[in-house]
Amino acid sequence: MRVPLAWLRDYVELPADPAAVAEMLALLGFPVAAIEKRPVITGVIAGRIAELGKHPNADRLQVGRIEVGDGAPLTIATAATNVAAGQTIAVATIGARLPKLTIERRKMRGLESEGMMISAEELALPDEWFEDGIMQFEESLQPGTDVVEYFRLSEAVLDVEITSNRVDAMSLIGLARELAAYQNVPLRAPELSNPGEGAGGAKANVTIESPDCRRFVSQIFTGVRSGSSPAWMRIRLALAGQRPINRLVDISNYVMLETAQPLHFYDAAKIPNHHLIVRDAREGERFVALDGSERELSPQALVIASETSAECLAGLMGARSSEVTDQTAELILESANFSGARIRRTAGQLGFRTEASSRHEKSLAPALTAVGAARAAQLLVQAGAMPHEPVAFGQPLSAAAPIDFKISDVKRLLGYDLPPQEITERLDGLGFKVEPADGMLRVVPPEWRTDVTCSADVIEEIARMAGYDLIASEIPAVRAHEIASGDYRRERKVATTLAALGYREIVTYSLHGVQVYDKIRRAGVEPPARPVEVQNPLSEEQRYMRHSLGPAMLTHLARANGPDRAFEIGRIFYTEDRQPLETPMVFFAFSAAPQNEPEWHDENFLRAKGDCEAFLRAMTGRSRFETAADERDGFHPGKTGVVLMDGREIAVVGEVDPRLVRTFGVRLPVYACRMILSALPPYDVPQFQPPSKFPSTYRDLALVCDADVPAQRLESALRTAAGAWCTAATAFDEYRGSQVPAGKKSIAIRVTLQKPDATMTDAEADAVIEQAVSTLRADFGVTLRA
């Protein structure tokens, strides 16, 4: 909310420095987003045009003799066309400083001009909101008056943020009340009694058909004259960001900014029988608003209608058909209270928000209806209108329920004690009524506050007034509890382990556009059949939830100039039984130059597998893993393995499908490993096996077997066949080609043998190996390569 400081000072004594006011507001819970400083303007005074004539040497110029009070009248030429003798206007005298120029003595077409008639723009006001040409003032403004000083144009404007619970403070008086209470100085509120009270006269009849209108104060004013508002009001409205329209509309806006209560004025001549009905809109009912916009309404909208048509979209904007104009002689004032939820829904549905709705939708206090009407009546009377009796319809005002508040709760929640006397004074300053009652205080919130309903709310009021700085830092002694950190600890260990293995952590967006699926399809791969879709994305780039960490990883690797290594821990999303579900995953990958190697071998794959096993060892404490060749979406069909533990699949490791790698723009082959975090078995503490004190020996065997026998099977078969003395059987080389028959391969396996209680002799070792080889010969048809 834009708050002109000059206006605020009307109601409360404030420090001169705007930054000090802003700081105070911030400490009260109303942070100031910006302090808009006003430009320095000097030497601008009010002048009355005594005479106006044609410039002797220029058709388009006029020359005026301007009375400026004490001094001699000034002769000033102007090109403006909205000037006439008798007007009181803004004059910049010689030496005046304006935002963009300094006024000097100069000749205009041979005639010396002793100053300049200026427009709103030269006063740094939004000129499109003011008269075209020279700024006009009321006759009552004495010639010679310093305009900047009189209208306090040098005062800053604060952009104040007001939390949604404090709609009462979306007003000058509301903020002034806070500042007055904080500084312990009086609030100088304007007169808030209704001059129509007891006046009798004409009454508008209001029928309330919807419970969403809680209260409606109506009041008729006759003898209304519109026209333009006085300059002070137009200036204040403009600085507050509200466009001046005409005297009547300006009064309704002015009162809203001052009291938070939005008002609406109807031209009484356009309302048959002066009868207004608050009802649901009819299906398809047409509504042309004040601003000319046209809408078709549904019964979800609430309207205020005459007996024939909707004349106001409740809480939002009036209709063009009954708007007040310069011809309006009699008006009906509406100061109403609506259900905030109803106004919010309607505004959202129609995509239509106004200053009025931004207040209504936060649920104003019903008591403000009388305040708004009274303040408007004061200003309308000042404008020459005649007030009639205000009449309130709807629910009667009920006093707020008292809150029984334990004084000891101050200490319990804030950590410090305040004497009851001070608590009472603090609350009193904000308009609360406080009565002591046996270790308690019985607190009644003021009628304009709807946000204070429980003891904790009262404590916040006390804390705000006493200052949050009174809260003293203290480290709590946290008692032992039963809550475990399992999942997070695992994620953190995953990250540190992969970082130690040389992978760099990345964090990417979980939302993406359809382009990801286009790319996948272009690679000849099927994208997920039922992706999780966002119903209300801000852009098409946020339409889908990622189904894999792969695409973002490939995009990342594509950006690197050469080989790169990265990992990501994050959730993936999928649909099951129409429910969107999520699973935390880890995905690590590297891109690497292809090696010069035969088609049945891939060193990079073995590296990826090595990283996978090292990772699993760190995570699970185990050191032996089984891998089975398999196929998985997104991976190369012939270079992929699944890692099993206790027969359960826990990881997929392999080369990423080269078609995907290509369409995502990575220039090198990519190897990756993905795991579901929750599938990782818990850490199993390894148990120490004392190694044999006797030396081990080994035999390297070159076994020729069918090309499709996996090395892992030969290893484990050898281990079994070699018996208890075999401590390891590890393949270390593979050969296919002219040295072995077609369809066969040769695998070199090192078998390590060791006895726990003696040195193994060569003869023993040879015997074991011979026995093992013959077993394998029988089971797999292997032969020893010559």
Partner: protein, 343 residues
């Protein structure tokens, strides 16, 4: 050949071998060849058996003397060879300023590092770290947190919806409810995690971000404890001199509520023309406050017995301030230079 000739011949060949050996390594071979278990000396010793018994002691003694001499010669040669090698090594001169061979090193993402540091701080003080789903129903996101439908505060949580009732959580606070539903007080947790809001993206805003939530509930927990813990956390993350200030604010799930500021680490609170804090001397961290009695009632905690606080801070924002990063979007771009510099 008799024994003496044998020994003479052996010594001659030993001298040759010693002369021809190069370096400490090959001396071992000489030692094995002559003095080893199946070495030449052993062969000569065996021949003693063929001598008449009377000659045997003298022969044995001669052999022993010969062996001793050979061993001494070997030891001497060994010492000389090692001295030579060490000498050669010591005379080497390299260019120590040549660039290092970098290890194959990974890194933790800078945002995650801040997250881990925050969690570690709270873990040290007895808090558990819990994580929860990113897809949450209305109930956990809003209703249970004292934000009924049509509440104006829902506007501040402009959320991505997946179904009419399921949304991507706009804050980590649903885990307050889930945790309290599962456990009775005392409850002391921090909740790191990804959140989503329909915010337009710019240098200061993201539609996806990470939050770190904190929750402490027990008898006698007050707002001073909140300030104490947050001050400690800020000192851990931003520096030992950090101060924390509370400003009143509004969140439906806390009362009293506060905005939490910490001293701007760049200007150290001096303000002026500081580009980090815009001259205020303070950095906004996020919201906090005493858990609203309605929230406690929603999980069957008695607000007259238990009290507690919660806070929720943006992790990218903290990282932005900690590492003086110019644009928050960098935390999702994973530019190599960015990750490398902050590794």
């Amino acid at each position: 050949m008799n024994l003496v000739d044998n020994l003479e011949d052996l010594r001659a060949r030993f001298e040759d071998a010693l002369k021809n050996s190069a370096g400490a390594g090959s001396l071992d071979a000489v030692r094995v060849a002559f003095l080893g278990r199946s070495g030449e000396v052993t062969a000569v010793r065996r021949s003693i058996g063929k001598l008449p018994p009377a000659e045997r002691p003298a022969a044995g003694q001669r052999i022993n003397e010969a062996v001793e001499k050979m061993e001494r010669a070997l030891d001497e040669a060994q010492a000389n060879a090692e001295a030579l090698e060490v000498g050669a090594s010591l005379s080497q001169r390299i260019d120590a300023t040549f660039p290092a061979v970098p290890p194959r090193q990974g890194s933790i993402h800078p945002m995650k590092r801040v997250m881990h540091d925050v969690c570690a701080y709270f873990e040290r003080h007895g808090f558990a770290v819990v994580v929860g789903p990113e897809i949450e129903p209305d109930y956990y996101n809003f209703d249970a947190l004292n934000i009924p439908p049509d509440h104006p505060a829902r506007e501040g949580f402009d959320s991505f919806f997946l179904t009419p009732n399921l949304l991507l959580r706009p804050h980590t606070s649903p885990m307050q409810i889930r945790t309290m539903q599962q456990h009775r007080p005392p409850v002391a947790v921090v909740v790191p995690g990804t959140c989503y809001r329909r915010d337009a993206v710019d240098a200061r805003h993201l539609y996806q971000f990470n939050q770190c939530e904190g929750l402490l509930i027990d008898e006698g927990v007050h707002m001073g404890h909140l300030k104490g813990m947050l001050t400690g956390m800020c000192r851990e993350i931003f520096g030992a001199e950090q101060q924390v200030r509370f400003r009143p604010s509004y969140f439906p799930f806390t009362e009293p509520s506060a905005e939490v500021d910490t001293t701007c680490p760049l200007c150290r609170g001096a303000g002026g023309e500081c580009r980090m804090c815009g001259g205020s001397g303070w950095i906004e961290l996020g919201g906090a406050g005493m858990v609203h009695p309605n929230v406690l009632r929603n999980v069957d905690y008695d607000p007259d017995v238990y009290s507690g606080w919660a806070f929720g801070f943006g992790v990218e924002r903290m990282a932005l301030v900690r590492y003086d990063v110019d644009d928050i979007r960098r935390f999702f771009e994973n530019d190599d230079a960015f990750l490398e510099q902050l590794a």
